[in-house]
Symmetry: C2
DNA sequence: TTGTATGCGTTATCAG
DNA sequence: CTGATAACGCATACAA
């Protein structure tokens, strides 16, 4: 049996739950002695209304405890007042913070957020977009997705879009790009400044734009310091703890030598730390370690992790605000703050 | 100016974005040569329909790419196909996993989830419920909330409710309670079995039911082992890393002696580990450490953390399924699995 | 400035 | 089994 999106044919239910609808706009209108349209206008600020009527309406609204029905609003107004948010993993600490911030901004503007997870998979992500559009969301925020630029442009034609983690421009589309290249460069430079020459790199997902930028930053810094790039010092990662662990395990069992590790995100750095620990190597005395993202946990792990600060909550706030502007017909101008190095004990015993 | 929930009077927008509505049910009906009602019936499985018509309708749906409009469905059917989920912090690793699981179950049943955060505050949580009800959600899942039993019962009268982290029964209400008492007991017993007698305890938020149960389990285990409860060995915590850190700092600067620490959740245990580290104490050689929750990070921190396994994703799955049953007029019967001790290096150097 | 009438896309209640 | 028809609650041209 085929399944139409948004339909649940074989959900077994006995009878619909009792409607909780109580007060309608019409009832408010009657109570306030005005027409429904006037109430609507007042509630939406659609037109000028005499102060007298406004007051009686507001009073009626308060007394009756009127709450507009979003379904009806959506049907009539052609707007659902909901925003789709595509994240790769809602349970990732990094995205969780961004989502919290997004929720906050949207809620304040009267929108609610619909979160869906792409699981780092372009195909799944495309399906997410379908789901969101079937829900008729008014706009979509894509947090570091993997869809092609082309797919995003196409999507923006029918739904305003804010995308993080890349730069491109198109109508109804705004991108918010963190400078991962500079972040990668900063991180590597920091290790070089500390005197390291054999700096291993645990990369992120290879078809992820941010991951490649971080790698580019790493290589650029090496170049600038006239340190040759050694492919043996680079490992493929997956942005998760186990990826970092495996990379280190591999290097150590193969006798690869290094004095520092730069992981393309904190989660992999945590895994790397465990790998080093298992082999009796101490951070930072035997190997300096640094991550990328500056998750809250970076402050609390042992030893605390040096990282590149990237504020997911700020990213979330900015993307939500930008989408709101897009929805309002304005042109967003927000920019993501520049990367910032946060030195902690994992790279420098003298640091906090 | 007063603000009606669900209304955004002063959002400055220029003009509504172009509606993306394309294919309506009516168009499908025409294309298939049947009435709209028949199409609706087929899509919802509301009644028996001749196989012939079914096929032509399904074909028309596929060809036209019809997707039902949830707003219209909601208005007409009195159901929004959305479920509210109240969590304390969407950016918490523990809840993130639960949310991911909930999303998965609900999505499969054609529902979408609306997440809102209560921030560990009963008042904020009450507001969350208001927001969700203003959105006319068909049901609500409350993950370890702080509202009173009474408030929950009242809420359940108008909206089916699934609540985790407590036990009570009422119509349209189902609770899913993890046995925190047994978890606390298991944890403490484990440390006692290891030979510890001076076991410090970092408590959770004091007005949080789970936290108190964990404490009760701790005290019970001590009692059973005839170890007196020493108030000096107990610290108030906040379920966050810094709470654990502060507790340890306090004890150590005050010269309190202990050989093991049991933190009421993993996040506080992480903070505690850092505190011990700062004072040159090694885990587990100088102090054994255990947490509660078994977050993914417990596997990867240094040293890996012994914990009580509680599966947030399973909790999420079960609560979503239970709510679906409630919505279907059935009586949920799901039970949360029993607590399980996971021994790692933080309490036992011989462990993985 | 304000009220009236119509329509948004479905589901549900009727007859047939 | 199937097709009209009436809601659902609100926003918006249009008229006043």
């Amino acid at each position: 049996m085929k399944k139409v999106p948004g339909t649940a044919a074989n959900t077994n239910r006995i009878k619909p739950p009792p409607s909780q609808q109580v007060v309608t706009l019409e009832m408010v209108a009657k109570a306030a002695g005005v027409s429904p349209s006037t109430v609507s206008r007042i509630l939406n600020g659609t037109a000028q209304v005499s102060e007298l009527k406004r007051q009686s309406v507001e009073q009626a609204v308060a007394e009756l405890g009127f709450v507009p029905n979003p379904m009806a609003r959506g049907l009539a107004g052609g707007r659902t007042w909901s925003i789709g948010v595509i994240t790769q993993a809602i349970d990732s600490p990094f995205y969780g913070m961004a989502l919290a911030a997004i929720e906050q901004v949207l809620d304040q503007a009267g929108y609610s957020a619909l979160y869906v997870s792409g699981h780092w998979d372009a195909k799944a992500e495309a399906k997410c977009i379908d789901v969101l559009r079937s829900r008729r969301v008014d706009g979509i925020i894509v947090l570091n997705g993997r869809l092609s630029d082309q797919a995003l442009r196409a999507c923006a034609k029918s739904t305003p879009l804010v995308v993080t983690g890349r730069s491109l421009s198109a109508p109804h589309l705004y991108t918010l790009n963190f400078d991962s290249f500079e972040g990668g460069r900063l991180a590597t430079q920091h290790l070089i400044d500390l005197g390291h020459r054999r700096i291993a790199f645990i990369a992120g997902l290879s078809n992820h734009a941010d991951a490649n930028e971080r790698l580019r930053g790493y290589r650029h810094a090496l170049d600038q310091a006239s340190i040759g790039f050694d492919p043996a010092l680079m490992a493929a990662g997956n942005f998760l703890e186990d990826g970092g662990l495996k990379a280190v395990e591999n290097w150590l069992t193969n006798g690869v030598k290094f004095t520092a590790i730069f992981a393309a995100n904190d989660q992999m750095a945590f895994g790397a730390a465990l790998g080093l620990h298992r082999h009796g190597l101490r951070v930072p005395h035997d190997v300096a370690l640094m991550g990328f993202d500056d998750l809250p946990m970076a402050t609390y792990c042992v030893p605390p992790l040096t990282s590149i600060h990237e504020s997911p909550s700020e990213l979330g706030t900015l993307s939500a605000q930008s989408l709101l502007q897009l929805l309002g017909g304005q042109k967003p101008t927000a920019q993501v703050p520049a990367p910032r190095l946060v030195v902690r004990a994992s790279s420098d015993p003298a640091a906090v």
